[in-house]
């Protein structure tokens, strides 16, 4: 069965600090990988995704993630966080090339950024 593990439950950073959130997945085949973000009081929304090709993908608001197939990892990074990045971040996986497939989510990481 597929599963997603996020290593950090709660991360606290000061503005301008660098961010890296860990994500590992368990699945035997080809996958699509996602990071979703939920800002306070808002709905879950897509931050970035990896389907194939360049393993370094860039998303909105300066976020990027790197897919390392050998490590089954898809870590999220941002060089310099802002107060507005305070949110909950979820890593998710789904089998590739299967239309309408549900996402399997990790437990999420709460990021708190102090100004």
């Amino acid at each position: 069965a597929q599963s997603v593990s996020q290593h950090n439950h709660h991360v606290i950073l000061s503005e301008a600090a660098s961010l890296e959130l860990g994500c590992n997945y368990s699945y035997g085949g080809t996958v699509n990988l996602f990071w979703y973000v939920q800002y306070p009081g808002q709905h879950l929304q897509l931050l970035l995704k990896y389907f194939s090709g360049d393993p370094l993908v860039k998303g909105i608001k300066g976020f990027e993630a790197e897919f390392i197939k050998s490590k089954f990892s898809f870590n999220l990074r941002k060089p310099s966080v802002q107060w507005s990045d305070t949110a909950e971040y979820f890593c998710a996986v789904t089998p590739a090339n299967q239309a309408g497939t549900a996402l399997i989510f990790g437990k999420g990481t709460t990021l708190s950024v102090s100004s």
Binding site: Q42, Q98, A99, G100
Partner: protein, 116 residues
């Protein structure tokens, strides 16, 4: 483009009572999902519809939960009778049926249920 609509946003009930949540997906999205998100955890899939047919309901507690999508558009999730452990946010999401967009879901704001 209108997003995924859910109602009610908040509901407080006592255990053993019943509750229903409604979801209207983005127009044209064939796939609809209901997720349960308990505090401190990631969303967990309850049921997935493709048009008006069920694709996956393996994690739906069928003794108390039911869901339908009769006309392949909006959907209702019902809990009867509710238990304390059903306190959670119930998320509805939709997606177009396209392999190139596999896994790209559009979420509603959720319905927060508190069972006392």
């Amino acid at each position: 483009e209108a997003g995924v609509a859910q109602s009610p946003r908040y509901k407080i009930i006592e255990k053993r009572q019943s509750v229903a949540f409604w979801c209207n997906p983005i127009s044209g999205h064939a796939t609809l999902y209901w997720y349960q998100q308990i505090l401190g955890q990631g969303p967990k899939l309850l049921i997935q519809f493709q048009n008006n047919g069920v694709v996956d309901d393996s994690q739906l507690p069928k003794d108390r939960f039911s869901a339908e999508r009769l006309k392949g558009v909006d959907s209702t999730l019902k809990i009867q009778p509710a238990k304390l452990e059903d306190s959670a946010v119930y998320l509805c999401a939709s997606s177009p049926f396209m392999p190139s967009l596999a896994g790209e879901l559009f979420f509603g704001e959720g319905s927060r249920l508190t069972v006392l």
